[in-house]
Symmetry: C2
Subunit: 402 residues, 2 copies
């Protein structure tokens, strides 16, 4: 057991900051502390950095500068997209369509709206593969539907959703019915590896952040198409085109902008490298034990994501055993009787007839899941060591395992 080893396989949870990004942020922090709203020279300099960062993001996702709203993160962006759309709608009882494997920052907003009778929500269940059927989204659309929210790639199981096809279905429905249903996508997990040009994706609103793309935490983006109108969720000094008040976090914004640029440049090559590594990893894992089950589609998943279920073995115990060996991965605990389960995503794969994603039955212990998410620092040696360690752990825990 090599005690000094540190293998971080939790990149989907959060990424380290790229040294180039951190260097740039340090520079801004020193020189551009003035308030971007100030009209004196120092304020103007800060404002320039802000607008350059905005234009840079806009260029990369092929949007206009005034379509980029800086927020405090993807959670806030998702909240602003949904609450902002709903607040702006005049209809009495608006309807939202989403999926049963969205991130909590989408699902919890929907539940809050339902609870307060401010909207009705349809949670379209994903297929067993963890992928949504665009036709099922179409079927869920109603005359009072105002918003569809479908994530680009899932944070737990990494499955990639057919965003373009969903967008087409919505466009068609809008055209035929003279509607203006807005399409939002949480692209936080997709942004590292998938195409993100907004016109091609067909999204009206798109959320992502810095903390998952080797940039700073505490800063995010909401792309908002010009034609889309939102009511703000945070009020005050009317920064960010009146949609997000509060003194601009210029250091974070500049860092996020550069991080996105670097991510975009590395995307193709990293994609190829990690896809090979992922497939190698999965192959080795499935050989470890016939009981290990891969969650989510084998191919239509992010190149850095491996999510497995090892029946009967508590996933949190596995994480701690791996951690003791210097390997850092993520898990979603199995259901605890009487509590809402954390593993609603993995659960959804086998329960695709229900549409709530909430129910958690007793004796559901077997569906705890383990997520290995790779990143720029991950090597084949890391994977080999991880497989070796996992084999040791499974052997050690045999008495639980059998």
């Amino acid at each position: 057991m090599e005690k000094s080893k540190k293998i971080y396989l939790d990149f989907a949870s959060t990424t380290p900051v790229d040294p180039r990004v951190s260097f740039w942020m340090q520079k801004i922090l020193k020189n551009n502390f003035a308030n971007a709203s100030a009209i004196h020279n120092l304020g103007v300099e800060t404002k320039k950095i802000l607008e350059k960062s905005r234009m840079n993001v806009a260029k990369i996702i092929e949007a206009h500068g005034d379509e980029i709203i800086f927020t405090s993160g993807a959670t806030e962006s998702n909240n602003l997209a949904i609450f902002g759309t709903l607040e702006n709608v005049k209809s009495i009882y608006p309807h939202i369509v989403t999926t049963n494997i969205e991130h909590p920052s989408v699902l919890e907003v929907c539940k809050h709206l339902e609870k307060n009778k401010k909207a009705e929500v349809t949670y379209v269940p994903v297929e067993e593969s963890g992928i949504i059927d665009p036709k099922k989204i179409r079927k869920a659309l109603k005359p009072n539907t105002v918003l569809v929210s479908v994530m680009y790639a899932n944070n737990e199981i990494g499955t990639i959703q057919p965003i373009q096809e969903v967008a087409k279905e919505i466009r068609y429905f809008n055209k035929v019915n003279s509607k203006k249903i807005i399409f939002h996508s949480d692209t936080t997990q997709g942004i590292n590896y998938l195409p993100i040009r907004v016109e091609r994706l067909g999204v009206d609103l798109m959320s992502f952040n810095g903390g998952k793309i080797y940039g700073p935490k505490g800063v995010g983006i909401l792309f908002k198409k010009r034609k889309v109108e939102l009511t703000p969720t945070i009020f005050g000094g009317n920064q960010e085109f009146g949609l997000r008040s509060g003194t601009e976090n210029i250091v974070g914004i500049a860092g996020l902008s550069l991080a996105l640029e670097i991510t975009e440049k590395m995307k193709e090559k990293e994609n190829r490298r990690l896809t090979n590594l992922r497939d190698y990893f999965i192959q080795k894992l499935l050989k470890l034990s016939s009981e290990i089950k891969l969650n989510g589609d084998l191919y239509k998943r992010l190149p850095n994501n491996i999510n497995i279920t090892i029946p009967r073995l508590p996933s949190d115990l596995l994480v701690l055993e791996l951690s003791a060996r210097g390997i850092f991965v993520s898990e979603k605990s199995a259901c605890k009787a009487g509590e809402a389960g954390n593993s609603y995503v993995v659960e959804a794969l086998s329960r695709n007839k229900s549409n709530s994603g909430k129910i958690c039955k007793k004796n559901d212990k077997k569906i705890g899941s383990l997520r290995f998410s790779m990143g720029r620092q991950t090597t084949k040696l890391d994977i080999d060591y991880t497989i070796k360690s996992l084999a040791e752990i499974l052997k050690k825990l045999k008495r639980w395992y059998n």
Copy 2:
């Protein structure tokens, strides 16, 4: 004219980051990038930094750790305090009491609630001194009042509000009428110089941020007394005791915590030094021209704040002239006909009978104001140079001035 000179007198707008804080943040950024919610060792390490930072803040303001909620800034904290209280209240048409010189992140929230008929709001006007009369707050309380929000010190004119007396009035009203009116204070501007022990202040909710105390931007705090219940404004992964979802901005949080600690240590000495400097500055300014008027109370104001009105001279022009001489100050423009005025605070000083703070009359050009806000880097030499430059500018602009 010394072109290379740079005198920053806009510390109330935002402060540079203390080098000790920036060094600490850099360290966290390198070593503690893991998600604080992860249960592996790296996650646990991040969680430790998070909780140490929280306890440090709690200790300084003499609160409990679970009363400290990290947010993305004071604007969000103010929004959460007000929306969160209102959403949690069961009464049909709740009433809020505030003042007519609050920060936009309080006033705009109140206006939004009024507009949507979710609350009725009383804007108690300040006296000519820019200070609120606690008795007028008491008189504004009604059976349906649920929240009072009064800032600790004003961001434009620096006047200090009698928070303890306001708290006493509310406590008395609550006792006599068996009510539970909540008292919130936006202490963003006060925190650098005034006592901030929450029990002594008598506040239930208190907002401030990093960007005004030589810490990072994009991170703030809402102190929330245990007995107070709030509904969140941002939903998702239930971080921050369920009150503020989103991956914790650990670098910002650690920086803010250290910045507060340093501020607290320097407070007494800086207070004395800046009070002397302020009084010297004011004396010199008033000697420059008999027309120059100091806005706000001469003594009950922050030690770093000087706010003046120079009649007939456009304040934005003065800022640009000063900026050209390397002096960076802030202004609030005079009213533009037909638009809501920016200078509502200075305006409120002469219109203390109205209670909206919104009305802006034509020909109100004369009430543009200039704010000099000093800080840790400000010296007597800076003040002398500023006075000299302002004298030159006034002479140059004589044709406007007369």
